[in-house]
Structure formats: C-alpha cells, structure tokens
Symmetry: C2
Subunit: 385 residues, 2 copies
C-alpha cells in the first residue's frame, strides 16, 4: 500500500473503511498482460468480485472488457461506460426475458444449458452465442483455498448434449461461436489449469463456427505469506500455446478470452478497522475486538479464508499473540486466529489485507451494522463516491 497514513485516513473518513489503490489494479493487470503472449486476446474483468462504480470506471479506463452475471451487473457495466461489444454475459438459469434483453442489446452470451439454447434459438435467427461447458470431475482442485468449486454442481452443458444444441442452433440459423469454461475460484496449483485448458480446447474443436474460447479465471491470490505467487507465466503461456494450435486447426485466428477478477482486485483493497476492546485470554494471548467482522468481510467466516492482519503503524512495543474478532454477538465472528502483532491498545487501527475482491460485494452488515465506507487512492488523491 502506497500510503502509510492510515491514522489520518481513519480520522478523515471513519472506520471500518475499505481503501482501494488504483496503482495496484494497474500493476496486477500488467502482470497478466505480460504473460498473455497470444496476440489475439481479450481480458474481461469479473464484476462479481467488486462491482463498485468507481472501480468499474477504473477498469473501463484500463481498456478491459467486463464480465457480468446478472441484469443488475449489466446495468452497472453500462453505467460505468462499457459498450455492448466489451460486455460478456455468463451465468446460470437465464430466463426468456433476460435472453431477449441480451439479444436486443447485442451482449455476447454464454448459455449454460440446452434449455437456454432452445430459448435463445426460439427468440432469434442468424445470431451467434457461446456455451458454458460442464467441467468433468476428473479435473481435481485442492479445496483448501479454492472457493466456488464445481464438483457438486451441474453448471454448464455436458459434452453428450453438444450434438443436440448444434442441431437446435442449425435449425434456427444460429451459430455457436464461443466456448466458455470455469472450474473454481482462487486455485493455486497450475495442474488443474493445464488439464482444464486441454479439456476446453478439445471441446472447442467440436464447434466449426468457433470464434473464441473463454477460460474464465480462478487464478489464485497469495493471501498468506506461506503461499507462493500464482504462476501466471506458466498458465497464461500455456493457454497462449493452446490457442496457437487451435488457430492452426481452424485455419483462422481464434480469440483467447479470460475473466480475471480476484487477481486484479484482491491486493488493491485493504480494510481499515479500529480496536474496540482487548480481552486478556491468558498469559500468551489476548482477543482483540474490532469494528468489522462478518458484517463487512464475509470470507473468513464463509470460507475459513486467511487474510493478513497488520498494525496500521509501529507501536514500538513487544509482539504479542492475538485472536481478532468482530465486535458483535456472533460468537464465531473471527477475522484471524493466533496473529502476532506489536502490542496494541484500544483505539489503535489494524489493516486487513487483500480484501479488494469478494470484500464489499459480500458485505451484508449482519448483525446490526451499516455497510462500511470506501475510499479510493489515486496516486496522492484520496476520495470516493
């Protein structure tokens, strides 16, 4: 984080407070672009990880496309200035009404079921659409860190239904021009990406009108210092190599699409919180209550996820071990266990790191809180909404 003036920010804007940094967003994107060596590519930002208007405007300013999963997100994208040609829609259970809207607004849509293909093709002729493909269970993901794992879902269209949907498309003079896949979020190992890439590319060969292949995302974030940085080089260069081969097969350039969200936003966001009480547990450990918890940041409780927590400034005191929890009646409202910090006092601030993705969007205010404030740091300029 560029700034270290957390105390000033806290006093100016109050806490709990999400702080976002434009520069980190840019730097994260540059890492991705560096390794996406296949030239005909398009990067869509996964709105679901952070749909705040100011963030979407930054994303738009960086020249990215945007991936949306609902009519509400579609409207947010349009309000942030995205054109139809830069919006990709992928979801599940898309209704007739929404399909009509997506067709009318000319939004690239990846359909999740044969039934949706049927509805699309009943509504329009001479149009194109993509499909979301069912991921086979043989592609294994380590569930320790990953979230939104596919193994218990029926998301996507199975290979056995490919002939059926091709026939539906053919009869209505529609073309299946895209293949989309997604298997899980925050995946750290590269192996499932390689297997998934191979699978999706093979599936894509079935569709003679193919124009793009969309690998979604799922790129892991180094939340803990014990983790490694995600190996973008390996995965994105592999995807690039797959696309070179695929383009050769099709004798034309197929577009490589990805939809990163977490890897662009996570470490661009920090949650600044204030200590409201310190409860002595034993000679070794105390429990810090802070003015944020599940209400503001749901990931630790829902996913048992790890976020680094740090002193907002040096206290100059010896280190001590702390559990850190929200100051609510929820008994299991913990943000971190057994964290070592320089000794703190009530009123001090702590920073909870890498919460720019799946932070504010999952905040419910439960129990009994207002939603937290948010500010954006754009070089030296601080402010938002």
């Amino acid at each position: 984080m560029v700034t270290q003036n957390f105390k000033e920010i806290a006093e100016q804007f109050g806490t709990p407070l999400y702080i976002y940094e434009t520069d980190r967003i840019k730097e994260n994107l540059s890492v991705i672009l560096k390794f996406l060596t296949y030239p005909k590519h398009k990067v869509y930002f996964a709105t679901m990880c952070n749909n705040q208007p100011e963030i979407l405007k930054i994303i738009k300013g960086l020249g990215l496309g945007i991936q949306v999963n609902s009519d509400h997100e579609l409207n947010l994208a349009k309000e942030a200035g995205f054109n139809s040609s830069d919006i990709s829609f992928t979801s599940t259970g898309i209704s007739k009404e929404l399909i009509k809207i997506l067709i009318e607004e000319n939004i690239e849509t990846n359909l999740d079921s044969a039934e949706e293909v049927g509805k699309f093709c009943a509504a329009i002729k001479n149009k194109t659409f993509g499909i979301r493909v069912r991921i086979p269970k043989r592609i294994k993901v380590n569930p320790d860190k990953a979230t939104n794992i596919f193994s218990d879902s029926h998301t996507g269209i199975e290979e056995k239904d490919f002939d059926k949907i091709k026939e539906i498309a053919r009869k209505s003079d529609n073309k299946i021009t895209g293949v989309h896949g997604y298997f899980a979020s925050n995946v750290h190992d590269t192996k499932p990406f390689i297997e998934f890439g191979n699978f999706l590319t093979d599936a894509a060969l079935e569709f003679t009108d193919l124009e793009y292949i969309n690998f979604g995302s799922g790129f892991g974030v180094r939340y803990s210092k014990k983790d490694k940085d995600f190996d973008f080089e390996k995965v994105l260069q592999y995807y690039s190599s797959l696309l070179r081969k695929l383009s050769k097969s099709f004798k034309r350039e197929i577009i490589l699409k990805i939809e990163p969200g977490r890897s662009i936003m996570a470490d661009a966001g920090t949650l600044l919180v204030k200590i409201t009480n310190i409860k002595n547990l034993n000679s070794r450990k105390s429990e810090i209550s802070v003015n944020a918890g599940f209400a503001e940041l749901a990931r630790p409780r829902i996913y048992n996820s790890y976020h680094e927590i740090e002193n907002s400034e040096k206290t100059g005191k010896p280190e001590r071990v702390y559990d850190i929890r929200g100051n609510t009646v929820l008994q299991n409202d913990f943000l971190g266990y057994d964290r070592t910090l320089e000794e703190v006092r009530e009123g001090d601030y702590l920073v909870i790191k890498k919460v720019g993705a799946y932070g504010i969007v999952m905040a419910s205010g439960f129990p009994g809180k207002k939603l937290p404030g948010q500010v954006l740091i754009n070089k030296d300029k601080i402010g938002m909404e």
Copy 2:
C-alpha cells in the same frame, strides 16, 4: 400463510420478495407468553434476526422490549419508538465511546469482559450493569441444526473472574444487577437449555445486587416437517421454576428475561421467487433456477440449513424431483436439494418458507444482485416501506 395469492403479489410487487405476516408474529409471541408462567418477566426481541423498521414497529406495538448488539441497532430501536427502559444491549468488544453512550442514554448493558467492566467503572459511579457469562463447554449442543455455537469462542466473563469484577464494581460504587447468558441459536433439544438454566442461575447467586437474569434465547424453529415443534412449555416453565427458587433465595423478586428472535420471526416470513430456467438433469430429476439464492437468503449456503420450498399454487401436474438454485455464477448457490414439487414451468413462482429471521439481514446481493423487495401483510392490507 394467510394469503394464497402469491401470483397477484408477485405481479404487484415483483420478485424476489420477502413477505411478512403480522398475525404470525403475534401468534408466535403468544405461545412464548403462555408458557412463561413466572409473572415478573420481560421479553426482548432479538433485533439481529430482523431489523427492518416496519417489523420493529410491530414488535414495539406488541409491548415487547428490544435487544440490540450495536450502536446502529440502538438507533434503529429508538427510531422504531422504543424507550431506553425497553432496550437491552449485549454484544462483545464494547468500546469506551459506546459505553459512554450507553451510560448517557441509560441503556441496560450486559458487559462481556472484565476489561469492559473496567471501562464502565472508570466512566461512571453509582450505576448498575449486567454481565454476560462464559458458558462452560460441558453444556453440549447438537451442531446439526444449531448455529452461532459458543464452543469455539471466548464470549462472556468466566466464573474465575467474578471476584475481580465484583471488586472493580465495588470500588466505583457500581452494582452488578444482571446476569446474561447465551449459548447458541436454533437449538432443538431441551437438555442444553435445562443445563444452561441451572448454570446461569447458579452463577447469578454470586451477585448479591441481582435484579434480573437473562437467558437469551436460542429456541429452535421447526424448519423441516421432520423436526418437532420446539418444547417451549418444558423450557420456559423450567426457567420460571428456576426464577421462583432464585427469588426465594434473594428474598425479593428477580426478573426473568429472555430474548427470542427466530422463534418470533422465522415462520412470519416467506421468500417468493420466480423460476428463470429448468435444466433437465436425468429422467428422475431437474434443476430449477430461481431469481434468488445466496444473494437474498444466505442460510442454506452458510449453515447448510433446510427451508421448505413449495409450489406457489397447484399446477395440477404430476410430482417431480428438483434441485433448486440461484440463477448466478456461484456453482454451489443451492436453496434446496431433492425437493418434490408438482411439475413446474419457467415463470412459475415458488415459496421458500420460514425466512423471516436471518433472511433479509444476511442478504448481501452477492453476486451481482440488488437487494430483494419486502412487503408486510397486516390482515388484508398489503404494503411496506
């Protein structure tokens, strides 16, 4: 539910829609009051389960007190017309600033730690406060249905610290007049309530200035037809008998307090949703997507909790087995598995039952949704906010 005109309501107010019924709230309260045979009692509504302004006004109209766990909930209670004398504050990690507010506004407060007792007694003399007591781990709760279980928390003040806090209170001429306990939410067995009641009453004997004992709540709700109704008779009559004995010991009438929330609100709320797609899985089962999921109702995903799901009206078709999920990119966004319904079509409505507690308050809109609408049915009158 009084009304069966779900289709009319859906067309008038749109979906997804929370529908609340005033009459159910009253009936649920009457069951509780019937078995609370100890005359000197006070019932506080647990705001955390549903803090919507119109609901709080109904609760106020029923003559209940209100339990709040944050400054925001305190403000909501005041806005709904509650007087200070009807508000009880219990939380964790209460800051110096908030303690000052609670003292100034004369709010009955149950302090969660020796540290908070220290802060309270540094701020004021000749005042009273209650304490929240640590629940011993020997009181076991079946975790299958219960939520917010205490076993992994350090909530409350341990018995070993009673002498210390009594001394702090004595030195500042403050009196410890209340003992509060809470062990978990949605507990179905009566055994832990009996054990907990005994424990809390024993703890209360330690405090010579005692005026009240607050058993909190945790009363289970019959979410599934396989469950039984919660045995209010057994638990509340047992609490009543405990208070009779306690009053004899103290040679004055001690007040019996409870804080129900879920048992008053759960079945007074229904979520009305619309089917957006039906995906055939196999000859036995299909997957229904509806326009609500984790975004609107978080309990199924967070707690793996069961809510009955029904056709909004007879379809007259044979029954079929369905999984029911939110129409989002979340792969595990399920509201129910293997539910038998009369066969449905896209555009039909379903009702998700007993969501009046921990429904709207836990709704985040994630991923990519606006928060759902809400209406209140007051006899024949429908409308809200």
